[in-house]
Symmetry: C2
Subunit: 243 residues, 2 copies
Amino acid sequence: MIIKLIISYDGTNYCGYQKQKNGVSVQEVLEQAIEKATGKIISTTASGRTDAGVHAEGQVVSFSYEGSIPPERFYLALNPLLPSDIRAVDSCIEKEDFNARKSAKKKTYSYSFYYSGVELPLKDRYALCLEKEPNLAKIKECAKLLEGEHDFKAFCATKSSVKSTTRTIYSIKIEEKTDGFSINVSGSGFLYNMVRIIAGTLLDVGYEKKTKEDILLALKDGKREHLSKTLPAKALTLKQVEY
Amino acid sequence: MIIKLIISYDGTNYCGYQKQKNGVSVQEVLEQAIEKATGKIISTTASGRTDAGVHAEGQVVSFSYEGSIPPERFYLALNPLLPSDIRAVDSCIEKEDFNARKSAKKKTYSYSFYYSGVELPLKDRYALCLEKEPNLAKIKECAKLLEGEHDFKAFCATKSSVKSTTRTIYSIKIEEKTDGFSINVSGSGFLYNMVRIIAGTLLDVGYEKKTKEDILLALKDGKREHLSKTLPAKALTLKQVEY
């Protein structure tokens, strides 16, 4: 049978979701726990990789399993075998053709900011410190330009090599909080560093360092240079994957 | 001159505020940074010690300093010399008789809970996971019993040895959040583990494992056995010290 597993993790101490030669990955630690729980070596597929330091509330993983653990209790069997910064939060049986990556319809990421003159240890693990409040109205206005299907070539790390750089952003919502805000981006899928480049560029729009025209130009000619720097990983969280 | 310094820290990796033989304390790391910034060995006084693993948003530290760093910029000089889990957030000059411990009039601690069937890595660092929502009305009712001046002998770790166990609690407020709540306790001062015992007992009141009568009895005869266990340090934060 095919099992769908939802996991949450604090990415601070991992080299990213996907297995790598250098550094401990979330996937490696998760697959070790699955092996301990089932006695079998099982390879898993996630909805997508998250970069080093990026967190997840609802990463989705699928794998094939034959054994005695009931699918809806599978997550409970894993938690005692996982470190405290990774938790399985739910599990269920899925159709035979379900694949966490290929079947994904919509992913939502959130990039968080807080306002403070100095970095605050109790906020800084999951959000980026901003000394002054940007113009959120301007950010909201420019976020609209990115919604829809576009060639996001300019919005990915230059070392990235993918066939198509066309993606669809369903929505970019600016969520205002008492002491900061977050940029919540939902889309069909994302290029390497895409959300962190979007967040960095929209932030600069809020500080009037970038304009509507820079964004329109980047969408048109695909040049990374029109956009702002990639913001740090620590403030980015994969919130949800929908199927 | 006397400098008042406000510091914030993530207590996870420290053996507590106060210097100890075994383990790294916040005080030790802070005093090392002050020494690097000033070139002088300066001993500091904090408003009070926080236990191993307890966090602070607004711990207050005072010390005597003669030198060229302006008092209102002292905190800025320290931050590049501190690890990222400790930050100085403000500083100013104080009267010659100011002492962060002796002059303190009111301290506020907050104990935080979140609701979830499993521990969530992105919340669990600073809050305690509760599988089900307790009866907050009962908690609020019993919190009122603890307000005022009382002998809190029953509300401290048995290994504690202090002259008087009488303290004044100015208020206990239950702050409801979308996915949990916190117990905010303000008082003249607190005994060893007092807030964590109050939080544990009030939580059990909410689950109907403890009653109003248990609390009244504990206040009357001073026996620790009427109360609940000391909750973990990680969900406790020293919010503010007032003078």
